[in-house]
């Protein structure tokens, strides 16, 4: 060639920002490439990094878009923006740049969103309280949260099959509305540690990482969450409010409290302590629920006597105590114990008061600790044979049965 290559090559941050603000909602971008933006001063000046593309209070439409070589965050969606992004790819964002970042007030329609070569590869959503129904539908990138998530009463967070949420220290889902997470066998929904590279690989380009029990906190299904559904869901490496393994801040990985939530084909793995805690008249259903490898002596299931969910096909392995753990006390109404894949264990002495019946299904095992007392003033029905005075299917341990 007769001419030499350019002496100045383009760099990330060669120009500042492309902003779509209020009034730009009719904008349409198709087959557009946006390159080398992201600095208000000189390329690479970390004091002046700017988001390359800002969508603020806008419902602009984007289709077949590439945002390349930004100096930091490539695309930020904020302040009640409802843009449509289809086939949008972000590559090469410098300075730990995020490919996609959004706040909770925005509700973009995202389809086929991809990224590579950025600071990390994810859609980052600020934490906070959902202001309205939201749907997390992406299966091309994991979701990463900037903080805790609250789903308030009468608001629905719908998570689609195949979605993955990667979470970090102490992060918590508080559900007072509806968490609708119905995955499928082939496309389960995953809540896991940011260090978990078994899904979407090394999202944070951190090199080989080993996730730990307690890498994030929990999903709490609370009053108002009755319509919540978790199907084909994996909850992995939860269980600590602080740092993984900090025994001062151990938490249940999944809490069912004042809820009738429906769980089916749910697995809770590698919790920092108790896998699933059921309390305060939680009466939902748990079918095919498996809890494994709970640390710090954690039990797979723990429940108070006020709660009475429908339990079926519960399994567990590798937990601190391999048992269905029950608070002691007095049963407040008739109860039937039907879990046979693991023994029941009592946290304290227990009473069946006069006028109430406790039914133990065939195969049920109750293990009791030294000094524990099982008092029956009402009816204890074992092996499907009603009796006012009998023994349970099995009783082991150091406690006593007093009838």
């Amino acid at each position: 060639m007769w001419w030499m290559p350019a002496m100045v090559t383009p760099r990330a941050g060669d120009w500042q920002t492309f902003s779509l603000l209020s009034g730009s909602s009719s904008s349409i971008f198709q087959n557009v490439k946006i390159e080398y933006a992201g600095n208000a001063n000189n390329p690479g000046d970390t004091n002046w990094l700017r988001t390359a593309v800002v969508i603020d209070s806008s419902a602009a439409q984007f289709q077949n878009i590439q945002v390349l070589n930004s100096d930091v965050t490539a695309i930020r969606i904020q302040n009640g923006s409802n843009p449509v992004l289809t086939n949008v790819d972000v590559e090469g964002s410098a300075h730990g740049g995020i490919p996609f970042s959004m706040d909770f007030s925005s509700n973009p329609a995202l389809t086929n969103i991809t990224s590579s070569g950025n600071g990390f590869e994810a859609v980052v959503i600020d934490g906070g309280t959902l202001p309205g129904d939201r749907e997390w539908n992406l299966t091309t990138l994991p979701y990463v949260l900037g903080g805790n998530v609250v789903v308030p009463q009468n608001v629905i967070l719908k998570i689609d099959p195949g979605a993955v949420v990667k979470l970090t220290s102490g992060q918590l889902f508080t559900i007072n509305g509806t968490l609708s997470a119905a995955g499928t066998t082939l496309a389960p929904i995953t809540f896991t540690s940011r260090r978990d590279q078994s899904v979407f690989g090394d999202t944070f380009h951190a090199g080989p990482q080993t996730p730990a029990t307690g890498d994030w906190q929990a999903i709490n299904l609370l009053a108002g969450s009755d319509a919540s559904v978790l199907q084909n869901v994996l909850i992995d490496y939860a269980g600590n409010l602080n740092t993984p393994g900090d025994t001062n801040w151990l938490r249940n990985s999944l809490l069912l409290d004042h809820t009738t939530a429906h769980l089916q084909n749910v697995r809770v793995l590698n919790g920092d302590v108790t896998g699933i805690r059921i309390q305060n008249v939680a009466t939902g259903t748990l079918d095919h629920v498996d809890v494994e490898n709970s640390a710090h002596g954690g039990v797979p299931f723990s429940m108070d006597l006020a709660s009475n969910p429908a339990l079926s096909n519960l399994t567990e392995s590798g937990n601190g105590i391999d048992a269905f753990y029950l608070d002691g006390g007095t049963i407040p109404a008739n109860r039937e114990w039907n879990v046979t894949n693991m023994p029941y264990m009592l946290n304290a002495s227990m009473t069946v008061p006069a006028g109430l019946t406790l039914t133990l299904d065939p195969g049920v095992v109750v293990k009791m600790a030294t000094g524990q007392l099982f008092t029956v003033n009402g009816t204890l029905s074992a092996a499907s044979t009603p009796a006012t005075s009998t023994t349970p299917a099995t009783r082991t341990g150091g406690g006593r049965l007093l009838i």
Binding site: M4, W15, F18, S24, S27, I28, E35
Partner: protein, 146 residues
């Protein structure tokens, strides 16, 4: 566009005075209102037409506007509310150091797979026509060093 760029480079390299002419033309255009670039391009000679293929823009767009060819955003551009900026397929928008594009109005940037619309740096010579880098080292000056 590739043919024009090649011819322009040849001219710039062979006749440094043409480079100065190019810069002068660009600056005078930057003071003009933003308007449809193709319609206003002189076509008397190949040399002149090539210089003007790059349209410098800056400031506030207050009326509907149309961009095509290579656009050099020399200063930040704002599209006012209620105004539509239409960008043709194949348009390359090269924005200078520290500058931004801000839309309070509508941008219709509908490229095609074969002719995408590209927003990039003034230093990016891989697409569109070469523009002044805006850094005191105009591209034609650099080419004159060859």
């Amino acid at each position: 566009m590739a043919v024009r760029a090649g011819a322009w480079r040849s001219t710039a390299s062979g006749a440094p005075s043409a480079s100065a002419s190019s810069r002068t033309e660009s600056r005078s255009w930057s003071r003009r209102p933003i308007r449809a670039s193709r319609d206003s391009r002189p076509i008397e000679s190949l040399e002149q037409r090539l210089m003007l293929a790059v349209t410098p823009v800056s400031g506030t767009i207050t009326q509907n506007a149309h961009w095509s060819g290579t656009i050099n955003v020399t200063g930040s551009v704002t599209i006012n509310d209620g105004v539509t900026l239409t960008i043709d397929p194949g348009t390359v928008i090269k924005t200078a150091l520290q500058q931004s594009i801000t839309a309070h109005g509508t941008i219709l940037a509908q490229g095609s797979a074969a002719q995408p619309i590209i927003f990039t740096s003034t230093h990016d010579e891989s697409v569109g026509d070469v523009v002044d880098a805006g850094n005191g080292n105009p591209s034609c000056g650099r080419l004159a060093d060859i």
